[in-house]
């Protein structure tokens, strides 16, 4: 690893000033569970590292019935996993976190860092996509809200500019009669997913689908939604046959990158299976919520 200058600002304001000063010459470290590996491999050699790991100002989980959930960027995966608020209102996030990487990584890694490193196989994005989540991105002159759908630009690249900081993740209130599930495929516990699928169904008073969301990871350079497949559900009674057909369409919406673990063809096939399974589980949960 190349040497760097280390700056640990005490506040968000100070962080934004420092980012504005160093721009392209600096990188932000939060938990560093991915960044340190990138630095060790010499893939990146910033002159300055801005450490926000201990910025308590961004370590929070808040919920209210109007605005929904707000998670500060430096909140660790483990805090999300164990949060009673999240278990009560957004249990799919707790389930996702319980199987994200390993205990060691969850204890130090942050939810904001996971999104910003923008590994397309990351576990955090698919369930957020299924819940229409947004992120707050700040610079010294103000902040903007961006959907998780529009957050990714390309492989390991996001819309966060060199003078900007992701400060918060927002998840709207989950409508009643909604079921959400996230399932992923990986070789052993602790590995990064090969593919992952999150499905959310909201049912209307007749039990048909009012709204469907399908978030997918590991099947394109960025996390994506299966928007064509989502539309197939809307207004319809959700049956096994419909799930099967929609899963096929979802699979066709992907453009996976082959890697040493799996070919593009294989990922395309497996994501169909995982969309199908997640959809069935989401439906069961939605029906339970409706009764």
């Amino acid at each position: 690893m190349r040497d760097f200058e280390y700056i640990a600002p005490k506040t968000v304001k100070e962080t934004l000033d420092v980012l504005d000063e160093y721009q392209e010459d600096c990188k932000i470290i939060a938990g560093g569970q991915s960044l340190l590996n990138i630095l060790k491999q010499g893939l990146m050699a910033p002159e300055y590292i801005i450490d926000i790991k201990n910025l308590e100002e961004l370590n929070y989980i808040k919920f209210d019935e109007k605005d929904g959930l707000k998670i500060g960027a430096t909140t660790t995966h483990r805090s999300v996993e164990f949060s009673d608020t999240i278990k009560e209102h957004y249990n799919v996030l707790s389930e996702m976190e319980r199987h994200l990487a390993t205990v060691q990584i969850r204890n130090w890694g942050t939810i904001g860092g996971n999104l910003c490193i923008a590994d397309p196989t990351g576990d955090v994005a698919p369930p957020l996509l299924a819940m229409d989540a947004t992120v707050i991105i700040a610079n010294k002159d103000g902040e903007r809200e961006v959907t998780v759908l529009d957050f990714g630009v390309d492989y390991y690249e996001t819309v966060v500019g060199p003078n900007e900081l992701l400060t918060e993740i927002r998840v709207p209130v989950i409508p009643s009669n909604t079921g959400i599930a996230y399932l992923k495929y990986r070789i052993v516990e602790g590995d990064a997913p090969i593919v992952g699928a999150a499905v959310a169904f909201t049912l209307n008073e007749k039990g048909a689908c009012k709204k469907a969301r399908i978030g997918m990871g590991g099947v394109a350079p960025i996390p994506i939604r299966a928007e064509k497949a989502e539309k197939m559900f809307e207004g319809e009674k959700i049956t096994d046959t419909l799930i099967k057909e929609a899963a096929k369409v979802a699979s066709e919406e992907t453009t996976p990158i082959p890697d040493i673990v799996a070919s593009a063809e294989y990922k395309k096939r497996v994501i169909g299976v995982y969309v199908k399974r997640a959809a069935k589980l989401a439906l069961t949960r939605a029906e339970k919520a409706a009764n």
Binding site: M1, R2, D3, F4, E5, Y6, A8, I29, G32, Q33, L36, N37, L39, K40, I49, D51, K53, N54, R78, R98, A101, T102, V103, Q104, I105, N107, W108, V188, E189, G190
Partner: protein, 159 residues
């Protein structure tokens, strides 16, 4: 340029001048000669280098040392009570939960983190707690047995 790190390790406060790029495992092994913590993959993939930071288990290869400024670190050297082994260390001995021994410090630290949070874990919870700790001798059965036996023993002692 070096920075000063103030950290408490196994109850002893240290003030160490380090390069900012130094990781926690490098401080432990190279600066303080605490070589009980093993550096193996050095990429957060094997958890051999597990230590506790403020009671939580982390991979010390994947923590920038300056990030633990002001915090308390516990390594494998810090869990015995003088010459009396920690119950997990004793149980690993009794169950033959060592083979080559390289993963052992990390396994014991991960086991301790689990039992501190969840004194009465199921077998499944033990397996999940050490899921990141790789034993390339593949001797997981005895490790799981040793952690479960320790939990049982500590529960009985607490009665």
């Amino acid at each position: 340029m070096k920075k000063i790190l103030n950290v408490t390790i196994n109850g002893t406060p240290y003030e160490i001048a380090i390069k900012p790029k130094t990781t926690l495992v490098e401080v432990l092994r190279n600066e303080l000669n605490l070589t009980g913590t093993k550096r193996s993959c050095n990429a957060g993939g094997c958890s051999s280098c597990s230590v506790l930071v403020d009671g939580k288990v982390v991979n010390s290869c994947s923590v920038l040392a300056l990030q633990v400024d002001g915090k308390e670190v516990t390594t494998i050297e810090g869990i015995a009570d003088g010459a009396k082994l920690h119950p997990l260390q004793q149980a690993f001995l009794e169950h033959g939960a060592y083979q080559c021994g390289y993963c052992t410090p990390g396994m014991i630290i991960a086991g301790k983190a689990l039992l501190d949070e969840n004194p009465n874990p199921t077998k499944q919870e033990v397996k999940e707690a050490i899921a990141g700790n790789l034993c390339r001798c593949t001797g997981y059965v005895r490790i799981v047995d040793a952690i479960l036996a320790t939990a049982k023993k500590l529960q009985e002692e607490a009665k």
